[in-house]
Symmetry: C2
Subunit: 508 residues, 2 copies
């Protein structure tokens, strides 16, 4: 029996090794599409990727897997801990992949494609009612999908969607965290804005040549320990981090008039990248070797973007590089490049319509409202046609802005819902909370961490993150990972403390 169990596990591991290699090829083709592919190659690439994904899905749901899982599960007790956890992650993926009837998968995928295309057109025209029929169909099918997953996983429909991006997360755990933010943030934002109205910030004047921006990003990536033997930096319309752990591909875009945008984007992606480059090397071809979840991934990017990059310590380190990169502009107004001014410039708080342009303090408000609305859409208490009004109401309540008649910058601003991503948004804020809690723990463990950052010494931070997060892969569940790393369950406390210190007390 033991022998069969171990054999079943070995067969499953081999199966996942092959799957991970197909995902490798997929990841490179996707990266190429965003960074290299000429426009005319798009249609054939879309078909090629769709066929590859179909094949991966076919392999992920092969009939003999049910038997292998049954035997391996029964014998799991004989396996070492990492193999046991790996089996848990394998089965998690397999249950999800096999829970939906094929017809529903295809109908959903077609509806999402059509809805995303319709969204591109109708968003440009600010035409929610034109988009509505497509949106209705996506919501209708997604509710079916959520119910099917929920039935299989014994979860509520919304939690079943959430669990797909954030294994183990439940709306009942998120609600109290978000309720706290809803209470805390509007008051903080008001106070910060009052205070910042009295601050003077000097904007640096461009142009900032793309090649110099790229040089600066590369220099800072090197300082941060990004491994160029296992990664690259390229250009794309939207910044992202892709590729595979042995070959991590960061991409950014360059704004000739504002170098801080590419810098912030690259620092953000560097967090994702360092996580990927430092996943447990022996397990990269197995589910357990993958990053833990969306929120943990986002916690790494936000830790590097918000807690490292936008700190006076890091800006002091970056100063000479920025001066060298943009000596013309620097020569005209060195005061615009002073660490103090840069810090003020990079920590301005101002409510706005667009989530992806939001600052650290207002950002969670955008997510809280999406969380509320998407839960109501999935449980059926809100109908798709009621979304613009609900959006406007939440925006007024939380950020004092109305989106009535401006759905382009309201409920139609994100690609997520049009392309069927419901349950995805919360991870952004869970990531922000986790980043704050992790960084506070790292500073507690290493009281002179900021001094080291100021000196460009990232070894201590890397070691801490590596041990607590990166090399853990998916061994622990998210909750356990955070608790073991920080000594307490995830809460809003470290995040609130961080915002108060940074934005009210102006400490780093």
């Amino acid at each position: 029996m033991t022998y069969i169990g171990v054999m079943s596990y070995a067969a499953l591991a081999e199966h996942h090794r092959r799957l991970s290699q197909l995902h490798h090829v997929e990841a490179i083709a996707v990266w190429d599409e965003s960074t290299m592919m000429p426009v005319g190659g798009g249609a054939a690439r879309a078909e090629a990727l769709s066929t590859l994904r179909g094949l991966i899905h076919e392999h992920s749901t092969r009939e003999n897997l049910a038997d292998l899982f049954a035997v391996a599960r029964a014998e799991a007790v004989n396996l070492p801990a990492w193999q046991q956890a790996n089996l848990r992650e394998m089965e998690r993926q397999w249950v999800r992949a096999t829970a939906l009837p094929q017809g529903l998968v295809e109908a959903m995928s077609r509806a999402e494609l059509q809805s995303e295309q319709a969204w591109r057109k109708h968003r440009a025209d600010n035409d929610f009612s034109g988009f509505l029929p497509f949106f209705r169909e996506v919501v209708r099918l997604k509710r079916e999908v959520a119910k099917a997953w929920g039935d299989r996983l014994s979860l509520s429909p919304y939690d079943a969607l959430l669990d797909g991006y954030e294994p183990g997360a439940r709306s009942s755990l998120i609600q109290p965290l978000f309720a706290r933010l809803r209470g805390f943030l509007p008051g903080l934002i008001e106070k910060v804005m009052e205070q910042q109205a009295r601050e003077s910030v000097r904007a640096s004047e461009g142009p900032f040549p793309v090649e110099r921006q790229r040089w600066l990003c590369l220099e800072l990536l090197r300082r941060l320990g990004f491994d160029f033997n296992h990664g690259r930096l390229d250009v794309s319309h939207h910044p992202f981090c892709g590729g595979v752990p042995t070959d991590v591909r960061i991409a950014t875009r360059y704004d000739i008039n504002d170098y801080t945008r590419s810098l912030a984007a690259v620092l953000h992606e560097s967090g994702h990248a360092k996580y990927e480059q430092n996943l447990p090397g022996d397990w990269l071809d197995q589910p357990i070797g993958a990053a833990r979840s969306m929120s943990i991934h986002e916690s790494q990017s936000l830790l590097f973007e918000m807690h490292v990059f936008r700190s006076p310590a890091f800006l002091e380190l970056a100063g000479p590089f920025i001066e060298e990169a943009f000596s013309d502009s620097f020569g005209r107004a060195p005061e615009a490049f002073s660490p103090d001014n840069l810090f003020r410039q990079l920590t301005r708080v101002k409510p706005g319509f667009i989530r992806v342009d939001a600052d650290e303090a207002t950002y969670p408000c955008h997510v809280v409202l999406r969380f509320e609305i998407e839960q109501a859409l999935i449980d059926g208490s809100l109908r798709p046609e009621e979304v613009p009004e609900a959006w406007d109401s939440w925006m007024r309540q939380m950020l004092g802005l109305s989106t009535l008649g401006n759905d382009r910058d309201g409920c139609m601003q994100d690609v997520h819902w049009p392309s069927g991503l419901f349950g995805y948004f919360p991870a952004y804020v869970l990531g922000a909370l986790t980043a704050a809690q992790l960084f506070r723990a790292a500073r507690a463990a290493h009281p002179n961490l900021m001094t080291q950052i100021r000196r460009g010494e990232f070894g201590v931070l890397d070691d801490w993150l590596s041990k607590k997060v990166w090399t853990q892969g998916s061994f622990l569940e998210t909750e356990a990972l955070v608790e073991r790393a920080t000594g307490s369950a995830l809460s809003t406390e470290a995040f609130e403390q961080h915002l108060e210190r940074r934005y009210l007390q102006r400490e780093s």
Copy 2:
């Protein structure tokens, strides 16, 4: 019966559509490996590609295909001509893929991998005897493979290998062509060298900055009608043309001291690229939509490199671009950039050891000797340990150079045999003969073709090639394609005439 036949054909077409999409992803991953991938990504990429290829092979040999082919073949008479030809090409691939026992495929693939790795090491050490055990094993297995294919295809073992790269080619047809070249070339080369000893050639002096070389290559590619909406130009160690027809990827390397190398490489690859970009658009996902064969592909690259690029007419067109690209160097010695001087510079003939560095006149000698030796290795009349001596003997006879004790620059110079490519070399020379014959026919059809090229008007040449070659895909067999395009079977005549005119009479 008709209905079933048509259904079988449709099922086979759908099967090949999926295969072509998997090949698309493979092509992009291979391109990425040569142009973009950081070194550290190599090991995982090799495994990913190997898994993808295994999967493609698995799909190509699926059990139900035998029945589909049996029915479709019986009913082929009801299909339109292109579908019939497509069925022929599908079956050609399938027969070859299914002819070898799995154990032999795996043993061969392992031996090739080991031999190629051993070759890299032992070539650097000029150590043929260290390489010999690996080489012996590859030859031994390749003879088995050739016999298995030969039995299945009713061909001699060597022809069975040849047919894999050059469908329809037979050594009995190649031998008289190569015998003619063996007779013709040594005398021509001697006369040309005598004559060129009296010619003065002025070398242009660098440095030629990489960015300027790239600009020049891009400008000339644009002139040549390379479609940048469906293609790119990048950098790699060795020039190549890859990607897929809707997204053709050319890569070259830049020598800071000699811009003509990148230019010649890009012009060569542009021929491959234009063929790919102009394959029959409705058939790109089917075997019949692919380029006809290695020799036809090479005929297109050589037509553009040898007959277009290295002509006084094209060099006159290119002159102003070269001047603009390298104004510093041009300013110092404009005479080095005159079309006459460039023509002489680009048509120097000099026997050398290395095939890939050879000029147009000596190149076929390198291939003829490989053809003789590889036939003898496969039919068993020459043993692997006898190769260095045979190589030396052929080199002395044809190019007056001895490679005794210099196997690094002799029989160990190419990656082909170490990695199991036997029967591949002849296509290079068949391509050169075909290029000459096609270009002569195009000039006969359009007497002022060189004037148009001088003016940068490539429309007439493109239309002719498009009609005769590019949009034919694999509809015709190679022999028929050449005969229909040029009015006669492939011979050495046009190539000989071209060499005499260009190198002895110094006409274009």
